[in-house]
């Protein structure tokens, strides 16, 4: 660990590179976690199929490369297709579990996750696939090489996040979603078609996953069973940021990406995940202490 610290001391720019790379990774996690938080917050459904939807989006861009198109062109296609699929999944499955207790929705989305994996495995086989973007790199220093595809994905993730925030604040549907999240019964009383709101929310999340998946296929690799990676990180981020705190989700996503990368460098790659989870525990403990303090004030 100390020799790694010493390396960064010798070449401080290497530290910059590590944090930059981490932020690029984090942007994608933030996007995926944002969708999870949306569904969780509005519908109280914990979508275990989150990561699998990401991978599904990845395969859409892979399919685009098979047909000879650039994977980036698959982005709008993935957004639209996944929106439709999300709506369909809602109508077929999620609608039936949305008012039940937590375990029913966990089971249903877990089943959905298995289904997506197996179908992808049947169609594309279990091999690892990538979608090559061919965007190249630019080099600032020996130690700072930015893969353009990661930079673009940061920009796209940012643009999508901003678009969603504006949508939630300004549009009629966005307001209805927020109202439903606050109190579904009250929203229903006031004439909001909560069933449609739920369908839209779930479909929107599927779209977000699809877009993220396209980027994942260009940056890393996809395989029918890799969804769990993204599900787990999305859950960690949402748990750490707290529900209903969407800006917090985005910040935590960036933080998790950067911390994971830096910790992987400092302590060795095998401790990267452990470092992230320990950080989660610390955040939760801090919050617990804080809430004690708040209660004392009230008393």
């Amino acid at each position: 660990m100390f020799e790694n610290l010493y390396l960064v001391y010798l070449a401080p720019l290497m530290g910059v590179d590590l944090i930059l790379q981490g932020l690029f990774i984090g942007a994608l996690f933030a996007l995926i976690a944002y969708g999870l938080a949306l569904v969780w917050g509005v519908m109280n459904v914990k979508n275990l199929a989150q990561g699998d939807m990401v991978i599904l989006g990845g395969y859409i861009s892979y399919q685009a490369t098979l047909w000879g198109y650039h994977p980036m062109l698959a982005m709008p296609v993935a957004i639209i297709l996944m929106f439709g699929l999300g709506w369909l999944i809602y109508a077929l499955i999620i609608r039936r579990v949305v008012d039940r207790d937590m375990f029913t929705s966990l089971l249903a989305t877990f089943g959905l996750s298995l289904l997506i994996q197996q179908v992808l495995n049947l169609i594309y086989g279990p091999e690892v696939k990538v979608a090559e973007s061919g965007f190249g790199n630019f080099q600032l220093d020996t130690f700072i090489i930015i893969q353009n595809v990661r930079l673009y994905s940061l920009l796209i993730a940012g643009a999508l996040a901003i678009a969603i925030v504006i949508f939630m604040k300004k549009s009629r549907m966005g307001q209805a979603i927020r109202a439903t999240a606050q109190d579904a019964r009250a929203a229903r009383v006031l004439g909001i078609n909560t069933d449609r709101v739920y369908a839209f929310t779930y479909a929107l999340n599927a779209s977000i996953c699809g877009a993220a998946g396209v980027l994942v296929a260009m940056i890393w690799v996809i395989q029918p069973y890799y969804g769990i990676v993204y599900s787990i990180r999305a859950f960690i981020i949402v748990t750490a940021a707290g529900l209903g705190n969407l800006p917090g989700v985005i910040l935590t996503g960036f933080g998790l990406g950067a911390w994971e990368n830096v910790a992987g460098f400092m302590f060795g790659a095998e401790f990267a995940v452990a470092a992230v989870v320990i950080m989660l525990v610390l955040v939760l403990m801090y919050r617990l202490l804080q809430s004690y303090r708040v209660r004392q004030v009230v008393r």
């Binding site: 790694n4 390396l7 010798l10 070449a11 290497m14 590179d17 590590l18 790379q21 990774i25 495995n121 086989g125 279990p126 091999e127 690892v128 990538v130 090559e132 790199n137 080099q139 020996t142 130690f143 090489i145 893969q147 890393w220 690799v221 395989q223 029918p224 069973y225 890799y226 769990i228 990676v229 787990i232 990180r233 994971e260 990368n261 830096v262 992987g264 460098f265 060795g268 790659a269 095998e270 990267a272 995940v273």
Partner: protein
């Protein structure tokens, strides 16, 4: 008559046992002039592709052996046949199916499943019933440290996968007038049993030469990002980088080595072909990567039945036109069936115990390489070969005895 509950269980158990015995003898190990081998193999699930490669290898061998007159035991010639069940790529199912093959189908001669994980699940079952199993697809070293008596593997074990690259690095250092102990090694291995076995082999060999291991990263099993490790590689400038992490590791390393413009003169990694790194990233970016393989069709191994490795390759492709290249998984599966045929002929018996002893005494040359089992059951007569990606082609460069091409050092990739 009143039957107590305990007695009822006893009767039921006896009934089931009797049924098992009856059905076992009804479909015995040898039916008429056919010897039945059994295998649980992954035809669906995540190992399906390689499972099917293995199955095709088995079937090709069975056909060749039968066409050549079959197996002669006690003056009578027998045909081979394999009963397959799909283990769905899950170890628990594999173990169940092995029980079913042995207990219900009466199979006395087993062929292995695909992957170390499945073999680990099935070996205790075959061991319990004292049924010999010749496996071709489980390379994990830990399979051969359990004291199994009925397990035989034709392939090289996992710790040998990248060890040859260390030897090669030492050779290169000597040619340059350096001492091998000056060689600096960076290691990135996925944190799973197979890759850690590969790592153990590398560490042993590095110690033997007194080389310095400057990076020893164990990549998490889930996320496929190596940038932190590769940044370290850029800083520490090792002479050799070794990577192992299944197809995902190879695909990730292939991509990120290119993206981060890694200049290490020698890079060795497993699963290049499985991940199809040349197809994904092009010949320029992958130029000079060293990839170990169990077998290559350019090797000069041969045997009377299959001919040379190249002839096997050509004949297999003719029989299965969907294959553009023959994966080593297929070749070693074929070799496993040949080992069985050889054991039957030498044992001149159908008794599993006699056959086990005959298998243990196997010493044959095949198109797949030499086969001779250690006390532990792994094959010690065949080395791993190292191929280098040269202009998009995989050419054998080590060990020098089998090399078809000169090693290109340092590698000169085009990023």
């Amino acid at each position: 008559m009143t039957v107590s509950r305990r007695n009822l269980f006893a009767y039921a158990f006896a009934g089931i046992a009797a049924f098992g015995l009856a059905s076992g003898s009804a479909s015995a190990k040898v039916e008429g002039d056919t010897i039945i081998l059994g295998s649980a193999i992954s035809l669906t699930g995540k190992y399906a592709t390689n499972g099917i490669h293995a199955q095709n290898g088995y079937e090709f061998a069975v056909k060749k052996i039968n066409d050549a007159g079959g197996v002669t035991v006690n003056g009578k010639s027998y045909k081979l046949k394999v009963t397959y069940y799909d283990d769905e790529s899950t170890p628990a199912r594999g173990a169940q199916l092995a029980e079913r093959l042995i207990n219900q189908d009466g199979v006395k001669y087993m062929l292995g499943p695909y992957s170390s994980g499945l073999t680990k699940a099935i070996a205790p079952v075959t061991e319990k019933y004292e049924i010999p199993m010749v496996e071709a697809e489980g390379a994990s070293r830990s399979l051969f440290t359990q004291g199994y008596k009925y397990l035989f593997a034709v392939l090289s074990t996992s710790e040998q996968y990248l060890a040859s690259s260390i030897e090669l690095a030492a050779e290169v250092a000597k040619n340059q007038g350096k001492d091998p102990s000056e060689v600096k090694i960076a290691m990135a291995f996925e944190n799973d049993p197979f890759s850690l076995d590969v790592r153990a082999g590398v560490v042993d060999d590095a110690k033997r030469f007194g080389m310095q291991i400057v990076i020893d990263d164990k990549l998490p099993r889930d996320l496929s990002d190596m940038t932190a490790t590769l940044t370290k590689v850029k800083a520490l400038k090792p002479d050799l980088l070794v990577v192992s992490g299944h197809s995902k590791g190879a695909a990730t390393a292939g991509r990120q080595i290119q993206e981060l413009k890694i200049e290490t003169p020698m890079i060795a990694m497993t699963h290049c072909e499985a991940a199809d790194v040349v197809g994904k990233y092009g010949a320029g970016a992958t130029e000079g990567l060293l990839c170990p393989t169990q077998w290559a069709e350019t090797l000069s191994y041969s045997d009377p039945l299959m001919g040379t490795a190249a002839e096997y390759d050509a004949e297999f492709k003719a029989a299965y036109p969907e294959y553009k290249t023959v994966p080593y998984q297929t070749a070693q599966a074929t070799a496993a069936v040949m080992v069985w045929a050889d054991a039957f002929e030498r044992a001149q018996s159908f008794d599993p115990k006699d056959l086990r002893d005959a298998l243990a005494a196997t010493d044959m040359k095949t198109f797949y390489g030499g086969i001779k089992f250690s006390e532990a059951g792994n094959n010690i007569a065949k080395p791993m070969v190292l191929r280098q990606i040269q202009d998009g082609e995989y050419n054998v460069v080590a060990p020098s005895k089998w090399a078809s091409s000169e090693l290109r050092y340092p590698r000169q990739p085009q990023y």
